[in-house]
């Protein structure tokens, strides 16, 4: 069963355009030298909107923790249950985290603390999402 499809908006379009080109880019405040994700209108540290730029990151991270969705509410994902929902921290800044279903890793078999790398998965024609795999 396919995943729910993200709908880019004006703010997120550069992010999703990069993902569709198999690149992971995050907002970066040139004033604070701080990355942020998900995208916001302003820097969450200094409040500046003028100093925000898109910056490609390594796509390396670690598994912080996870749950297994056994009885979720999303109709489209019910046939997938049970499935992993993993919290991945970014190596460049561990305060930034992402969700992942950890493709390639069976439910309940998530190696907490293990290194992961970004990968990309098509959820609709021309629309990718960023996913993560155990290295």
């Amino acid at each position: 069963m396919p995943k729910v499809i993200p709908v880019p908006d004006e703010l997120s379009k550069p992010f999703w355009d990069a993902v569709n080109a198999k690149r992971l880019v995050l907002q970066h405040c040139t004033g604070c030298n701080k990355l942020q994700y998900p995208p916001q209108q302003t820097c969450q540290v200094c409040g500046s909107d003028a100093k925000l730029a898109w910056k490609e990151v390594s796509g390396n991270g670690h598994i912080a923790t996870y749950i297994v969705i056994e009885d979720g509410r999303l109709n489209r994902r019910i046939p997938d249950q049970p499935y992993n929902l993993v919290m991945v921290t970014l190596d460049e800044d561990p305060t930034i985290n992402f969700y992942s279903n950890l493709p390639g890793t069976p439910p309940y078999k998530v190696p907490v603390g293990a290194p992961v790398e970004v990968t990309f998965e098509e959820v609709a024609p021309g629309q990718l999402i960023h996913e993560w795999r155990v290295k």
């Binding site: 993200p6 969450q44 056994e70 999303l74 109709n75 049970p82 919290m87 969700y99 279903n101």
Partner: protein, 438 residues
């Protein structure tokens, strides 16, 4: 009816000092409707509107207040259930009935305007719109009375539920994720306190040691306290006590979160009568004074709140509350934090340091004697887990404990102050009650 726009009532900043109306506002009455699992769609005496009217009448009777004395009505109109959360207006359209049920109002939606009309309250001068959920609404009511916007205010919290799987519709049935959901839903997080708190809970177990099922004694005790609450869902529906074995063999929702870790959505309403301390002295019940109210709305750094953020947020909320009340952890006798999902309650217990519980100590505390008869009657209300998702048990129990009318739940330790909340770690509010005004 004049209601000021942009009324600034929140106490949601650090360092605000002691609340200026400390001990000058009181709760003089409360009332509960029956707590049903769902509204059946046809019983006009069991609609959310009918139950809200009933709760108001009970609260007014409890205080000895007549309709003409009510000059404030504060009613939350976001009633929990719905296709994917938020307003139950998502249940509409439906076949309607004779007045006053010829629209959605009164069926699954209730607001101050509808209640004032149906209850024929002639002297209401304060009835704000856009009222938040009860965790903040109690603060709004207390502040409004303290500021003199009204003197005798009934505050209502309705919680609706209809047939069908809870929140299996609306956005959750959509193939697309828009707005903020584009960052969570493609991977399966449809939002809610369960997601907010289960990840940090797992981190908690890793950081401090312990396992998820160490929550069992707490969950079981919540169920027990619920059965000692005459108006609650468990007590009125013959819910049997659960054992550790029942808990540990129960099915998972978001593994490790089990079904018994989750509260039960219900159809019910509750009302509370706020007034000035001076007026409360002449009312039917002994006043329960408001010593402080505080709110918080912390912004998370990234996609998922982590344990560091949760601990920082709850520490700040605790500091705000204690500072505003002029009290410290050792002064708090009754502690009724929110428990809608059991995995979050340890964060509040440790942040507020109730009975000396520090970070990482909660599971050991749960394993001790937390019964209402014992020395550490934690969450004497039974909370949502014990009474259904009314989100009001914490407040009612606090009031009853200070009045000395909690019946079989009455604690055996001192009961002169009580702290209650409906809150998540990032957003919500707390209120401190006192048997005495200072």
């Amino acid at each position: 009816m004049a209601t000021p726009n942009n009324y600034s009532w929140r106490r949601d900043k650090d360092g605000l000092g002691v609340w200026e109306h400390r001990g000058k506002v009181a709760v003089a009455g409360y009332g509960h409707s029956p707590v049903d699992r769902r509204w059946d769609g046809v019983s006009m005496d069991k609609t959310l509107g009918a139950y809200s009217i009933l709760a108001c009448q009970k609260a007014m009777d409890d205080a000895g207040v007549t309709p003409d004395q009510i000059d404030g009505v504060i009613c939350c109109q976001g009633h929990i259930a719905g296709g994917s959360g938020g307003s139950s207006a998502q249940w509409a359209p439906r076949p309607y009935f004779d007045p006053p049920y010829d629209t959605e109002w009164g069926l699954t939606l209730v607001n101050a305007e509808w209640l004032i009309k149906q209850m024929r309250l002639p002297n209401v001068k304060f009835a704000p719109a856009n009222v938040p959920t009860i965790g903040e609404m109690v603060g709004m009511a207390a502040q409004a009375v303290g500021d003199g916007l009204c003197t005798t205010c009934v505050m209502i919290y309705p919680t609706g539920n209809l047939e069908g799987r809870y929140r299996r519709g609306g956005e959750n049935a959509d193939d697309y994720a828009r707005g903020a959901r584009q960052w969570t839903v493609p991977w399966g997080n449809h939002g809610g306190n369960d997601f907010i708190n289960t990840f940090p809970h797992n981190q908690y177990c890793l950081r401090y040691g312990g396992k998820h099922d160490d929550l069992a004694p707490f969950v079981i005790n919540q169920q027990r306290n619920g059965m000692l609450t005459p108006w609650g869902f468990n007590a009125t529906h013959g819910i049997e006590p659960i054992t550790v074995e029942d808990y540990m063999s129960s099915r998972y929702i978001l593994n490790p979160l089990r079904i018994w870790d989750c509260d039960r959505p219900v159809n019910a309403s509750a009302a509370y009568l706020f007034t000035t301390a001076d007026r409360a002295k002449d009312m039917r019940q002994p006043p329960v004074y408001v010593l402080n109210h505080s709110q918080h709305n912390f912004k998370q750094r990234s996609t998922q709140a982590d344990l560091d953020e949760i601990e920082m947020w709850t520490d700040r909320a605790a500091k705000r509350m204690y500072e505003g009340a002029g009290l410290s952890p050792k002064d708090v006798d009754i502690f009724n934090p929110y428990d809608g999902y059991s995995v979050m309650t340890q964060f509040y217990l440790e942040a507020f340091k109730w009975h000396g519980v520090k970070r990482g100590d909660a599971f050991a505390f749960y394993a001790g004697d937390i019964r209402v008869e014992g020395p550490h009657p934690f969450s004497s209300s039974g909370g949502n887990l014990g009474n259904g998702r009314t989100r009001t048990a914490m407040y009612t129990d606090s009031i009853e404990q200070l009045r000395g009318t909690a019946g079989r739940r009455q604690v055996t330790v001192r009961a002169e102050t009580a702290l209650a909340a409906f809150t998540t770690p990032p957003s919500g509010g707390w209120i401190m009650f006192g048997k005495h005004p200072s």
